[in-house]
């Protein structure tokens, strides 16, 4: 009788005709699920490739104002960039000073490549240039024809009666300006200027004159001298001590800053543009690696997020890079670094955590600070006066966790120094990994008082009151440092600039942080 069979089996066997239909349904379902997975994977790919607000690099031509002496490497790089990415780079060559005037007058163009830092500095002071990226170093040398027939080895030889020599105009070209600055410093300029046979508008024309024989010598950049096989450079100690940095700057008025920055990054990439500079005998700087869209990884203490988030977003859009930011308690972040994570930069909640991983980072720059405060319920119903009242029996206290969070460590260190930590006893109800959790617990009413930071209070001042803690240990210094293993040290330096900019400062200050940034070296 059928009852002896398991009912589904009996059904199955009774309706064998349906069997194949069912099997094909399940096969279809299996196939369908595979197809659906492919569709989902494609959608996810599309979603992650199209982050809202991402940069769009236009195909409009870029206009670059370039110091004439740099033509050989820059021309080669620009043509390669055009071939690779289809974006034309229109280059206008001239003396650095002449170009600067052009930029001031015309308010056009995207990039400015000057032969020395001073022009970019002037341009920046005039508000013409935003970011700058260093490319290479160069020094002035005396240039003579091969073999040095006149035996010119010193400045005195140059100025001795029979030698005619040329210099580039100090107001038009970088080399002239640099020589004038160096010699004015030693008081030799006035006499030297009188002996100059001819001032030329660019460094190349000085070299051409020596090559043609219209002068016996000239002062040019060391790399320029090396680009002429018929010429040779004579190094002088007075010039060798002060190499000039060649940098490219993105013009503030550029209508396509992301595209401009991208070319500047290409030019300054150690595996692209800088190779060309190396071939042209420049001493190159430590450039970033080239990537069309660099992927940056930033580790940041969770409490810093209100201060940094908007700045990161703007930086990402302007630079055309992608920043993956991992926000977490600093104890967890440093543990991840010990597990092998090598972020491009680390923004720590306190110096004490940065020093735990100091071997992985370059010198840290302290950007902001924060202070510990005592947060109580609105109106201070318990009548607490200061941190010593936390030992009062019956209070429900929360502290940040002293191993997981920097703030917890600082609070713990302070309470230990005050001799209070061990007296908290049963009052201490919770140690939370981040201060925000404490604020949330306060807001739900499950704690009477917590130690957190001023920046936490800023977000919760409608609901809580804060009491200051007057103790030198109640301070967190929050440093930013670039990872030694980062492939993009220059870009990270620009990120630091962005974080140190006035707009970022305003964001930090409105989020309750104190401003601490001091530029490391003001030229």
């Amino acid at each position: 009788m059928r009852g002896k069979l398991h009912p589904p089996a009996s059904n199955a066997l009774r309706r064998r005709g349906a069997c194949s239909a069912r099997a094909s349904f399940w096969a279809l379902a299996a196939l369908g699920s595979v197809a659906m997975m492919a569709v989902l994977a494609a959608l996810l790919f599309w979603l992650s490739r199209n982050p809202q607000g991402s940069n769009v690099v236009t195909r409009k031509p870029l206009v670059l104002f370039c110091a004439a002496g740099l033509k050989p490497p820059v021309e080669a790089v620009a043509r390669r960039y055009e071939r690779t990415y289809g974006i034309p780079v229109q280059i206008q060559y001239g003396g650095s000073g002449t170009l600067l005037s052009n930029i001031r007058v015309s308010h056009l163009g995207d990039l400015f490549l000057a032969a020395d830092e001073s022009y970019l500095k002037s341009a920046r002071e005039l508000g013409l240039v935003a970011e700058t990226i260093p490319l290479a170093l160069q020094r002035p040398v005396i240039v003579v024809r091969s073999g040095n027939p006149q035996h010119i080895h010193t400045l005195e030889d140059l100025q001795s009666g029979g030698t005619r020599f040329a210099l580039a105009n100090p107001d038009a070209a970088s080399i002239g300006r640099t020589v004038r600055a160096l010699l004015s410093h030693t008081g030799q300029w006035a006499e030297f200027e009188r002996k100059v046979a001819v001032f030329k508008p660019t460094v190349n024309e000085v070299a051409n004159d020596v090559k043609l024989g219209s002068v016996d010598a000239g002062i040019v950049w060391d790399a320029t001298a090396q680009q002429y096989p018929e010429l040779e450079g004579v190094h002088l100690p007075i010039f060798d001590g002060a190499p000039e940095t060649i940098s490219i700057g993105v013009l503030r008025e550029s209508a396509q800053p992301t595209a401009a920055l991208r070319f500047a990054r290409y030019l300054a990439a150690c595996d692209q543009g800088l190779r060309e500079f190396g071939r042209a005998h420049y001493r190159i700087t430590d450039g970033d690696e080239w990537a069309e869209t660099p992927e940056i990884r930033l580790f940041s203490g969770a409490m810093l997020r209100p201060g940094v988030e908007q700045t990161l977003k703007e930086f990402e859009r302007r630079e055309g890079c992608r920043i993956t930011t991992v926000y977490n308690g600093c104890g967890i972040l440093t543990a991840q670094m010990r597990a092998g994570e090598r972020p491009d930069a680390y923004f720590a909640c306190d110096q004490s955590f940065m020093s735990r991983v100091a071997d992985l980072y370059g010198p840290p720059a302290t950007l902001v600070d924060d202070r510990l405060v005592l947060l109580v319920q609105k109106g201070n119903p318990q009548g607490l006066r200061d941190v010593r009242d936390l030992t009062r029996p019956g209070l429900r206290i929360g502290l940040p966790h002293h191993e997981k969070s920097a703030m917890g460590f600082v609070a713990w260190r302070m309470l230990k120094a005050m001799g209070l930590y061990d007296q908290l006893g049963p009052n201490l109800k919770v140690e939370s990994p981040t201060g925000d959790f404490l604020v949330n617990q306060m807001r739900t009413g499950s704690l009477d008082a917590v130690i957190a930071c001023r920046s936490h209070y800023t977000t919760a001042q409608a609901h809580l009151d804060s009491l200051p803690i007057d103790d030198p240990l109640a301070r967190l210094d929050q440093p930013f440092a670039v990872g030694r293993a980062s492939r993009y040290p220059q870009m990270m330096a620009r990120l630091l600039d962005a974080l140190a900019a006035p707009a970022s400062r305003a964001r930090f200050e409105s989020a309750g942080f104190g401003w601490r940034y001091q530029p490391i070296s003001a030229p």
Partner: protein, 285 residues
């Protein structure tokens, strides 16, 4: 054998509804109602508390934010992909474990429980370390995983799949192998018996495993925070959003996102159950 067949709960045969309750049964039903009611009240109480902490304005503001819209999309897509992947692993694993004896089976059984037992943070950390090994790094040179979308799916999969496997294992355990054996005697091979008999019978379990995996994946947070980071517009899923909003003390927005998550989950689960139990699966049967 037969007695076990009789006692084996069948996923198909419904228990006959209780037609008449004798008056002496009321204390029993009262106890049932009180015990289950307490739990339902607890859940409703939590929802009501959430609602008291937000306003329609906060909900609308949350829905208007591009970050939150992105995290909704990422959550729904990644959970669904994770669920399908989990089922593709869970069905064969459950079937194999339920129907066959092989050396190391007990060991494998224990291994399959590890993701359920481990704290979620540990899973995240383990995944992170795994992808820092030479093999992991080599793989990542071709496909970025850590801190990218694939890491979200992997983190969800690592946990959700364990629950799906458990469910499928119990499901196949509860289905008598007898029908498959009969199918074999009628000329089916193993594969045909699986496709034509075992899988259709396991459809409720399949649905349960799917919904369970989906729900686990949606709620997955700890591993994602460690393994995928909390980058807005990149690896931010809904629980990350809640965390990020909480971490700046914005409880209202955190609650608003939580409510969006609850509504989305209820909608998808109800739809899946309705579709699964009264839709095509049922008709084919």
């Amino acid at each position: 054998m037969k007695s076990s067949d009789l006692h084996a709960p069948s996923p198909v045969v419904q228990a006959p509804p209780v037609q008449a309750r004798s008056s002496a049964d009321w204390p029993f039903f009262a106890a049932l109602a009180i015990l289950s009611g307490t739990y339902v009240l607890l859940i409703l109480g939590m929802l009501a508390a959430d609602l008291s902490f937000t306003t329609p304005h906060h909900l609308l503001a949350a829905l208007a934010s591009p970050e939150i819209r992105f995290s909704i999309k990422l959550s729904l897509l990644s959970c669904t992909l994770t669920t399908l992947l989990a089922l593709w692993v869970a069905v064969p694993t459950g079937y194999l474990m339920s129907r066959h004896e092989f050396p190391g089976k007990r060991f494998m059984d224990a291994i399959l429980d590890i993701p359920i037992v481990l704290p979620p943070l540990v899973i995240g950390l383990s995944l992170l370390i795994l992808f820092q090994t030479p093999l992991g790094r080599a793989l990542q040179r071709h496909v970025p995983i850590t801190y990218a979308v694939p890491s979200v799916i992997l983190a969800q999969f690592a946990v959700a799949c364990a629950f799906a496997v458990r469910t499928m294992l119990v499901t196949f355990d509860q289905i008598s192998p007898r029908c498959e054996q009969v199918a074999l005697t009628l000329g089916c091979n193993r594969s045909q018996a699986f496709w034509r008999v075992a899988l259709p019978e396991a459809r409720r379990g399949l649905l349960t495993a799917g919904t369970l995996a989906w729900a686990r994946a949606l709620g997955e947070f700890g591993p994602i925070l460690i393994f995928s980071g909390a980058t807005r517009l990149r690896t931010e899923v809904l629980p990350t959003t809640v965390f990020l909003e909480l971490s700046i003390g914005n409880i209202e927005a955190a609650v608003a996102v939580s409510l969006i998550m609850i509504v989305a989950a209820l909608a998808v689960l109800t739809l899946a159950r309705g579709f699964g139990l009264r839709g095509p699966l049922e008709r084919v049967w």
